[in-house]
């Protein structure tokens, strides 16, 4: 752990009793009180996460919009100022470099938020694809800290610390000048839990004050500090993909079921030709939801079988805390993707009964 990078909130984690682990080279809490109570706090009240390990890249210049439009799969030409969009960066072969949030501050200034484990790779990828675009790229990951305030009480809690009317920050919009307890923050109504909530960005020196002020005013509304453990169970129940699980360089967004974030009709973007071809030829693999019918818990990497042969692999699985079922996502041979198709998941060398179910495990509680 000595070799891990520490976020500006490291001391807060230790004093809150966080169980710190190495996550992508960062010393971060996997849990405080426990994954289940933290998961439930986010579904029923609110939770606060340190997500300072996320990477941020600024894209500035006259051709910022054109550069981003070429870089990502979604159509950013539809964005207005201060709107946020989920998108993916793909390789020319169609596999995923990373998924990201694209913040449009204005036509000449975009802000890209990327996964911690991919920061160096992503930034290099952006530089490699800068070509002749008149833009300046700056990796500001080490200067920016971020917390995620998530759950049905998130707005009520944050509103106690700011004069900005949070009703004015709609789902997938942001405001760069929200004073949170006297500290200027970038605040977006975004998150990774399937609940209403905000992601709050501030400088490294200011984030501790933001964290402690939120904890202080949130306590009476049931706010709990939350670790990476429940971040994963929450995003999984909301069917939000995780890089390395549902999407990798060997899995395309179409195979991952993220086609709505891939605009094949836009002029051009890296990976378009391969994805158009894959769509025309029909998907050979699809990502499905499944429920385990026998007793057990499916996990990332377990084999999926049908008709006596291996037809795929579990990308994520859990005994889901809110859904209260043993469920998973699996990338499988498209021939077996119909709802109700019987499958088997191999757990400790035993094939256990499962069936394909809808990937909509949970009704998302977004405030739109």
């Amino acid at each position: 752990m000595e070799n891990c990078k520490k976020t500006a909130l490291f001391n807060a984690h230790e004093s809150c009793g966080g169980k710190v682990i190495d996550f992508a080279g960062w010393a971060l809490p996997v849990q405080y009180e426990g994954i289940i109570p933290e998961h439930e706090a986010v579904r029923n009240a609110s939770g606060l996460f340190d997500v300072s390990h996320m990477g941020e890249v600024e894209v500035k210049g006259p051709q910022a919009a054109d550069f981003v439009q070429n870089l990502v799969t979604n159509d950013i030409s539809t964005l207005v100022d201060n709107q946020v969009m989920y998108a993916l960066m793909c390789y020319p072969e169609g596999g995923v470099v990373d998924d990201l949030l694209v913040y449009k501050f204005n036509n000449e200034f975009f802000y890209l938020v990327i996964n911690a484990s991919n920061v160096d790779k992503d930034y290099q990828w952006m530089l490699d694809n800068k070509n002749n675009y008149n833009v300046k790229l700056k990796n500001v990951s080490d200067e920016v800290s971020e917390v995620a305030l998530q759950g049905p009480k998130a707005q009520e809690i944050l509103q106690k610390l700011t004069d900005t009317n949070l009703d004015d920050i709609k789902f997938f919009f942001c405001n760069r000048e929200v004073m949170v307890g006297g500290i200027k923050c970038l605040v977006s109504r975004t998150g990774y839990t399937g609940e209403d909530g905000f992601e709050i960005y501030a400088s490294n020196k200011d984030i501790s004050a933001v964290w402690s002020k939120l904890m202080e005013v949130g306590k009476e509304l049931g706010l709990k500090p939350c670790g990476l453990g429940c971040r994963d169970t929450l995003r999984f129940e909301a069917t939000l993909p995780l890089y390395g699980n549902e999407i990798t360089k060997d899995i395309t967004p179409l195979e991952a079921g993220l086609g709505i974030f891939v605009k094949l009709n836009k002029e051009n973007f890296i990976g378009k030709d391969a994805l158009v071809k894959q769509k025309e030829e029909g998907l050979k693999r699809k990502t499905v939801g499944f429920e385990l019918l026998d007793k057990g818990i499916p996990r990332h990497g377990y084999e999926v079988m049908a008709d006596g042969k291996v037809i795929g692999v579990v990308t994520t699985g859990y005994m889901a805390p809110t859904v209260k079922k043993s469920i998973g996502l699996a990338l499988i041979d498209a021939a077996y993707a119909e709802l109700e198709t019987p499958l088997e998941v191999v757990i400790r060398n035993k094939p256990l009964k499962a069936k394909v179910i809808s990937k909509k495990f949970l009704n998302k509680n977004y405030k739109k």
Partner: protein, 124 residues
Amino acid sequence: MNVLKDLLYTKDHEWIKVEGEKAYVGITDYAQHALGDIVFVELAEVDTALSAGDAFGAVESVKAASDVYIAVSGTVIETNEAVVDDPSLLNQDAYANWMICVTISDKSELDGLMNAEQYEAHCK
């Protein structure tokens, strides 16, 4: 961390309580704490013949699955279905809630195990 005096321990954090020719096996307080909320327990079936070092089941937290190993050879004569039905019992009291009971086939295998004092040192 709680360590009981009259038990034997493995380096993988299982405990063994010897009663005549029988041995009760479970996981230690250290293990349940490290795992966090335990949500699933799977145990070898009665009559299974186990060799020292075999997995006799698995304990799963929300986050991960961990095999549990038996340090002595023997045949399973009883399983504790209470921990299968309610895995959180292991979090509540890891020593009161044994997992399997075996007949010991070779008592000399017990010699390699740690006593409470040694185990406490092992966990540091």
